[in-house]
């Protein structure tokens, strides 16, 4: 059952801004809300039965409360206050879990591994006509050339880490000394460059895809 404390957004804000026991009670209730939500948030990431769950939940609740208090003024009241707090908790928790999961993986080791797998994986699941397979191979080669010509080394590196190896943006960004927000913008710029290059070649990505997906 969700915690039964019901406050309006205004009550949450005034209680948390008040001193003494009013604030203490609100913090206890808010902490209970965060802890209630975490098992749902982390479903598929970390089971509540996992020995690490409790410690992580405590850590996340503490960090979330601190961040929420620090940023109370940025709450605009466009959602329930508790939804806003859960949003912070989710970011804190997943950032930590991503960090733990990828902690022993460097960007270079990822790319080196890729280097070892350089032979193009045949589109093995399908049995396209030989001529089409050759067209696909040519297209892939051309797309690859476009990427190396249009993208900076940093953009290519980020695309490989995120796109090939499935590294979270957050983790790729940390290894590249950037914020996740900046990495998203870098990747967006890379995609735009490729899209414009395609347009200059007289093709759209949609047309390209029809060949990729031709059976």
């Amino acid at each position: 059952m969700p915690p039964m404390t019901k406050r309006t957004n205004e009550q949450w804000l005034s209680d948390l801004r008040a001193g003494g026991s009013q604030r203490e009670t609100a913090l206890v209730d808010l902490r209970a809300d965060i802890l209630y939500g975490l098992p749902y948030a982390l479903a598929g990431w970390l089971s509540p039965d996992d020995p690490h769950f409790l410690a992580l939940a405590e850590e996340v609740a503490q960090e979330t409360l601190m961040r929420a208090l620090d940023h109370l003024d940025s709450f605009e009241g466009r959602s329930q206050f508790t939804t806003w707090v859960h949003k912070i908790a989710v970011r804190v928790a997943l950032t930590e879990l991503r960090r733990r999961h990828w902690k022993d993986v460097s960007l270079d080791s990822l790319l080196e591994r890729e280097e070892g797998e350089r032979s193009p994986r045949a589109m093995a699941d399908r049995t396209p006509e030989p001529e089409i397979a050759a067209e696909q191979a040519d297209l892939l080669a051309h797309l690859q050339r476009m990427m190396t010509e249009e993208l900076t080394a940093k953009q290519l590196r980020a695309m490989m880490a995120v796109g090939v190896q499935g590294m979270p943006l957050e983790e790729a960004a940390r290894r590249m000394g950037m914020k996740r927000n900046a990495l998203y913008k870098l990747l967006h710029d890379a995609r735009l460059r490729l899209k414009r290059r395609l347009a200059r070649e007289g093709l759209s990505a949609a047309e390209l895809l029809t060949v990729f997906e031709y059976k």
């Binding site: 939500g37 749902y40 508790t82 045949a122 690859q144 796109g163 943006l169």
Partner: protein, 99 residues
Amino acid sequence: MRNLIERLRRWIQRDGRKRPALPSEFLGKVARQIEATHDVEYSCDDVHRLLDQFAEAVLRGEDVARLMPLVQRHLDMCPDCREEFEALLRILKAGSAPA
């Protein structure tokens, strides 16, 4: 389709027959991402600011793709933000479920 293949053949002849070195799955994914790319896209920070509002709208069954298309588009492109949205939605669904 045949016309397109012919156009493409002429287009790629400049490249010769060099085989791609990057995995084909990756290049296919890049092609799909290019197709979904827009000139203007929200960043992760833009989306994080709106994610609580967006998740509540989803929970209410609103047509968020129409109401907040830039958030929806970002979630389609950004795996990190999408995971966070899904996690938040699971909490909201649990909280709104009948006891």
